[in-house]
Amino acid sequence: MSLNYYQLFYLQPLFNIALKTLETNYRQIQSEAHPDRFVTATATEKLASMQLATLANEAYQTLKNPASRAKYLLELHGINAINESNTSMPTDFLMQQMQWRETLEDASMAHDISTLEALLSEMQAEAKSLQADLSLWFDERKDYANACETTRKLIFIDKVCADIQQAIDLLD
């Protein structure tokens, strides 16, 4: 039986996780599976340790980031948050996305770093608030429909954040 990412790090399958525990248990696995420990091991053992190290790395990256953790947690509940045939989002959220995108576009054209930075902090605050919502939907209410919609929003926000950061880097 293969372990899921949470089981691998001895974590409860929740949105709110102890990042310290995640970090510690990840380091532990990485050191146990380190190639230096398997110099004299059999080929099978070498392969197994390499596979474990790869799995741990993938699991750690997935659980460390709130949006990918939420997406993964939904998968454990049989829900695909980014199903391509589902393009409907709350209209007010999409309108706001458009506005943010327009601000980003205008500010980039105008080489206006302070507006970009203000927009970035607004987005980061928005992301924080969505993460608070996610721990409510996932951990307290077990409401996976709302968790899915909030996850989709967070993925959008993360994308805008990345694009703003990129625009700032280009101007710097």
């Binding site: 391509e84 393009t87 999409l94 458009m98 959008f156």
Partner: protein, 132 residues
């Protein structure tokens, strides 16, 4: 990944970019989004009393294929009835633009934007009929 010539053409010279007056009772708006890549698409159609689409405008934030898909459909929509518009399939968009499999979702987004805009104008006109 290489884009087809048609995608590049629409991407470099997008047709009908802009907005229509959303308060116009003859204008329907469709907003859709794809979290997988963070694309947002707004499609607006202006429909006359015979149910014919007279004008269409779009605004899309996304990759080249998403922009090309929405640009293409605004060209297709003009002159069509709203029922014909509703029947447009993403596969036709994908075929016309020669979209690779990983970009098929961009054509899905465009199809859904049309459906949302048609639903919006139908709801708007229905409301008008009801209030008369």
């Amino acid at each position: 990944m290489a884009y087809s010539d048609k995608v590049l053409d629409h991407y470099e010279n997008p047709r009908n970019v802009g907005t229509l007056d959303k308060n116009d009772p003859n204008v329907g708006t469709g907003m859709v989004g794809a979290p997988a890549c963070g694309d947002v698409m707004k499609l607006m159609i202006k429909v006359n009393d015979d149910g014919i689409i007279e004008d269409a405008k779009f605004k899309t934030y996304g990759c080249g294929s998403a922009i090309a898909s929405s640009s293409l459909v605004t060209e297709w929509l003009k002159g069509k009835t709203i029922d014909e518009a509703y029947a447009i399939k993403n596969s036709a968009i994908a075929e016309e633009l020669a979209l690779p499999p990983v970009k098929i979702h961009c054509s899905v987004l465009a199809e859904d934007a049309i459906k949302a805009a048609v639903a919006d104008i139908k709801a708007k006109k229905q409301l008008l009929v009801d209030s008369e």
